[in-house]
Symmetry: C2
Subunit: 209 residues, 2 copies
């Protein structure tokens, strides 16, 4: 286990910094200051320095950060120096969108399979992955060494699917269903409710009225 | 304008609390303590009290909160005591998933239209909304009093679409494209990168190895 405890908001910003640095690498930029990173991604420069300080000193005073070094370090912190095998359960509209989401592929997540119970969907191709029957869940998790299960099934079956994923060996669950899921302590669970994003907007719209 | 400045993480938790309270109302629960809310949603009870304290005192010491009163108050804070008109630009897999996302409907967001440039998609029905041509953007925003534009187009056209939305009168943009968008100061912009969710998991998986 690594020896630091990082707030989730910091992890999310590190992810954003790393994307920005990747663009800079593509453009041939060699060094950058925390202020330039801050401007580039739209957060305060004190925040950038504080976020990066969790991981020790990489910058050189007056020179700034070496872009490629910082990028590689961030990717390592985010666990993106290795590949993670993902399975998607539920091939409805959201599951299909996630299975073909370029952002996952760009960041090195390996979508190994997508499963559903609906015979009308099974057999369809999403990019180069064929939708398969949910009965194959345990087999697919095991044979692909799946670490991460993504749940886009209806709420009524989300807990059963989660239990099956964990029993088969998944270590982390990304839950897009509206249900509160119970998982053992050692399993990492993240709930995503896409409406929260719209509610941050409605909060701000209402706030500024 | 309301007279408080709230961290975004708090706004996101208020959204989660409000969903939990809604379930309690459906179950007939009348009062609840901050500790019970904390347990129900999986955050610390000090955090719940701190989040709610931004908005003054609603609880009664030793009795707790009246569930319905607290729920109504949270919905008002989140701007969900009114309807917001939304337009989705881009009817690919992600746009289609969002157009039919039950979570948006449940929270009162009104998806007024979904537009695309692809003739193969235009005319298709998503729930009861027909995909229409992107040339109608300005007309649709104006005639439906759209406040919020959701962008799921490819990065290469995201800025043009954003400019058009703002010119037509949209006040807030939810951006699912990978591009950094430039908007005037008075426009509320929120970028959603779905991979960040997987990266919080890979960070934690790597952290616990």
């Amino acid at each position: 286990m690594k020896a630091y405890k990082i707030p989730e908001a910091t992890v999310m910003r590190l992810s954003i910094y790393s994307r920005y640095l990747q663009k800079l690498i593509e453009n041939g930029t060699q060094t950058i200051s925390s202020g330039e990173i801050a401007n580039g991604v739209g957060v305060g420069s004190a925040q950038v320095r504080k976020d990066l300080a969790y991981f020790g000193e990489f910058g050189t005073r007056g020179v700034g950060y070496n872009v490629e070094e910082l990028f590689n370090h961030l990717m390592e912190i985010l666990g993106l120096d290795e590949k993670w095998n993902v399975i998607i359960i539920g091939a409805g509209k959201l599951g299909s969108a996630l299975a073909t989401y370029q952002g996952f592929i760009d960041r090195g997540f390996n979508i190994t399979a997508i499963l559903d119970i609906d015979e009308a969907i099974i057999g369809k191709k999403l990019m180069d992955i064929e939708v398969e029957h949910i009965d194959l869940l345990s087999k697919k998790v095991k044979e692909n060494n799946v670490e991460i299960g993504v749940i886009t099934v209806p709420g009524s079956v989300a807990q059963v699917v989660t239990d099956d994923l964990i029993k088969a060996g998944a270590k982390a669950i990304l839950n897009f269903s509206p249900n509160v899921l119970r998982v053992p302590n050692e399993i990492i669970l993240r709930n995503v409710d896409l409406s929260v994003n719209l509610e941050v907007l409605s909060f701000n719209l209402s706030f500024h009225k």
